[in-house]
Symmetry: D2
Subunit: 336 residues, 4 copies
């Protein structure tokens, strides 16, 4: 930590700060400058709580050098992590993974059709939501456990591992019984209790970035999972909230190369939720792969115009097959 | 709903849209314009899902007139709601309420001291967190149920009702046993399952606006509580996330008069989390009252410089007493 | 400046950075920590360009302690500045100033009526736009120099000093001939050439915060004016752009006490542009004064429903008189 | 335009609105709904000013269907525009264009070296700034007209057309004398007078999106250029300001396919300003091309570590050559 003093802080104030740092068991090293004095703090094993310092007279600012995460950081874990889930591998050196399926599970036929289309076109993981977070209480809220069974059945029929969102702790057991990968959605990225329990489950977890989460907060959320001993974590960028509302969210694609630098965990992209517009999905899916994503997650529905949720951003089976043809060519170009 | 067609949409496309609307059991009324045709949709009882329409050829945009909430809306419930909780009343015509106390419950002495300071200065409700949402897993996470007991004890010692945050459904029972008002935090504003259960509890709920929630989403979240038959809901503006990071969040104070127009529910303001800076808290607390807030919630800690959480934004007991003196004068000026 | 090295930076890398700092004529002071080494940079007279450092191997981050402004900073100029303009005084210890008038100057009668209403209700400065920045080219663009004359005439008729926006350098001469205070609008806050010329004019300048300007950038823009020797600068908060579109902008009121801490310059608030909604203007105007604003600027139009620009956020003469009655009472309460 | 009435608006209020619409020379068509009445407005030739309507009793909202632009819209001009500038062609069906060069022109040697590197690696247009917008007045402000000459000389030496930013109207003549394409920067996107004059110049214009401009505002700004009869307009996405500060701006890449839908104008991407970080530039440049950009603009400096401006985001000549090798392969894959 670096403590920056006011331009006109007195020598006594500087000494008082030094003393307060030493009371915390740390070392204080003043760095006098031409305009103001700064004080370096040494000896800490991680993030220092600056509450006792920040308010002392003459202190202008406390600048943290340590971050609120460590286990997820490439700085402390230089080697890339490859996450294996039900035979599918996410990470450096692996062929990028395509996860596809409907936003919400609606009925048996819909899921079987979707699974068939996903499989036929070359998708590797089947998605589908049984518990749906909806802005208002008057919208369709998902089929619950019944939906989980339909998802499993459809996945088994086509030999596809399945992923589904878990929204609350008491759903964890049921979700773990039926799914291969747990998804934690954007709205729950900072539902820290859910993160802890998901971490303890030992299941691979796909963690979506919160709508207004900084990269630092995103990584700190993943740290909750790793802190429970679960290293099978896949990050997912799905768009952030900005002033621009022409797209549903703003896809922050630069996060892909940036997180690959900062963390050893794999990162994938969800262009469906990011853009909210079907015609943009294929082109942004391909851009994500070129940006270095370890996979993509796209919404596919056998009949998008009848979807109970997110129809406007879902590809039809045909649209998905066409995208996969293009992805095939792109991955070949990228060397996979 | 209004369906706007492309400038060069054909007559057949317009007819196909009309038909699709009628299939939904609604009426379609074309409005030809000089530049393009629009189609008014009539007969719906609330929000219409536009998925089947939005993607038809020639459709440019679907504009919703209905909102994803109704019970919270002043449009359908013109009379202001006064929420009564443990003898304290929030709402129009009531003297604004001051909720105060530490961010997190740390130990018995701290809580008893805080309660004494809050009571002495004229605060009406005691706050304190037993379950703490923290960005990183390596920070203090709260005392849990033990903390709830200390909060209750301190409240009882001074005759103050108490409020505390509930973060997960399985904490609800314990929180309801010890607290008078439930708080749902910004990170959980769209934890819809928690909202439903809190709604069912019958307890008064203070609902904080999510960090990146629009007013529409904020009201739709409150709708979840009312949809369970619980009308004792207090809204709380606590700052939103914007590009400006000089304050912890950006206090969106205009929301106070706006929500008073749009909803019949009371709304209070938390200047501590909004600004994150102690010297700004008193002045913004007073601005909030002038803006029409039905109350304020401020962090008070007997020893802010030793606080385990949010010390930099907490007032000392002395600082709080001084603020309350000013609030007293301001409320007199405002006619209370 | 503080240079933070990677966790696993080598001793050679640290030495190379030290050397690069010394080449710049500055002193480098390593601060070894338990997790990583940081290097303090001493001896600079202001902001250091870190381009040569940031990219050296092993460097993780450069943290700046100096700011891109100095003249506007309270740190270097502790005493508050009172700006005097045509007999009106803005700043600490002065009664807050009310600037009012129509968004755009439309005709003689409108301006004379507006001036009369502003004067009668107690406004001290008359505003009106002759050059209008409009989002699209097909909207009314203002009366130009003809408008300036009407503004001057209306001001003279009522004995009110006048303020108007200057949008381009070649308008400066005409504006200086007719107006008492120059306004630089939000869209031009970083039109640096215009700032320089306005600074050189010697006229008092009201500088509006850019729609997406941080406080640091806002103060740096004001620094351009002071760097030309012009200390008569009044800052103006008018709302920032955020994800929330229920109001035209998000009024960032906390900026008022914050800027009063950081700078010695006066700061006023424009609740009309900030909210864009007439019913919110009076309440936010009063909140601004309680937050410590040195003045407010409100749009007043004799016939808002016929305004060529911003009618929806303009008060009528009657509405303004009513607001001024409330402001009168509030200022008395505040001790003016 | 659609006028939405309050739930409990009276019949008289509806009639008053109808009358007000008719006074404007337009037709009003009521659309009674189950919850509220809406009124369609017909007969307008473009955007309707709703000021007289919005404030009538019982009116809840005015929803605009027309946009503040028309000439730039694909809706009214379905065929894609190819912009030709000094022999280089931007647009559909053309090989994407690479613009490269230093942020600011520093001296003759730097520009000649940069031009040689750009040309050798296959860049088609040389960029360089003579007038620099800098946040603070104490930074390097550019060489001015002297710089323009150095840019021209370097372009001529390598047979490259040149582009440079114009910041104020009185620079236009000099810039037009020395450059082939005018650049209007993000900070000037709504400097409407500059847009008009640039439009009148007849020169091709590269218009950068403002830091907080919506797509609608971006297109409306371009409309200013086309309204002056200048159709040679190239749009440029360069990142927007959001809460995320880990990158300099947030590259909003989805805007590329979206603008290709909405407008007939070509759009390119500047990954250097968008990310602000050299290691992210090449990967985001390639992602932009896959997203459908008609070109990219990248900062290249012979000695980035000595650059007077933006060194941290500039590629070296070597780095640029390496990127161009990858771009070559990518364009081949894309069919160019």
């Amino acid at each position: 930590m670096l403590i920056v003093m006011d331009h006109n802080a007195t020598e006594e104030q500087v000494k008082a700060v030094q003393k307060a740092v030493e009371v915390m068991g740390l070392e204080a090293k003043p760095i006098p400058g031409s305009e103001r004095t700064a004080i370096g703090v040494l000896g800490n094993q991680g993030y220092v709580d600056d509450a006792t310092i920040r308010e002392l007279p003459g202190v202008r600012e406390c600048i943290h050098v340590s971050k609120p995460y460590k286990l997820v950081s490439r700085d402390f874990h230089p080697e890339s992590t490859v996450v294996e889930a039900a035979g599918v591998r996410f990470g450096d050196g692996q062929r990028p993974v395509v996860i596809a399926g409907p936003c919400s599970i609606e009925n048996e036929k819909q899921m079987l059709d979707a699974a068939r289309q996903v499989k036929a076109a070359g998708g590797q993981v089947l998605r589908g939501g049984a518990f749906k977070p909806r802005t208002g209480p008057h919208s369709f809220q998902g089929l619950g456990v019944e939906g989980l069974k339909l998802l499993r059945q459809a996945g088994d029929a086509e030999g596809l591992p399945v992923i589904t969102e878990v929204m609350r702790i008491d759903q964890l057991e049921a979700v773990c019984r039926h799914a291969d990968i747990l998804q934690i959605g954007a709205r729950n990225m900072q539902n820290f209790d859910l993160l802890k329990e998901a971490g303890r489950s030992g299941f691979p977890v796909l963690l979506k970035r919160g709508m207004s989460a900084t990269i630092e907060e995103f990584l700190a959320a993943a740290e909750y999972l790793l802190a429970e001993g679960n290293e099978r974590v896949i990050l997912c960028e799905r768009g952030i909230r900005t002033f621009e509302r022409a797209t549903r969210n703003t896809l922050d694609l630069s996060v892909v190369p940036l997180i690959r630098q900062m963390s050893h965990l794999p990162i994938i992209v969800d262009p469906s939720h990011a853009t909210g517009k079907r015609p943009l999905v294929p082109v942004m899916a391909k851009a994500a792969l070129v940006a270095g994503a370890h996979g993509i997650m796209v919404e596919v529905h056998p009949e998008p115009e009848k979807a109970l949720c997110d129809g406007a951003q879902s590809l039809s089976g045909e649209g998905f097959a066409s995208l996969m043809g293009e992805v095939e060519g792109l991955l070949k170009y990228l060397g996979y």
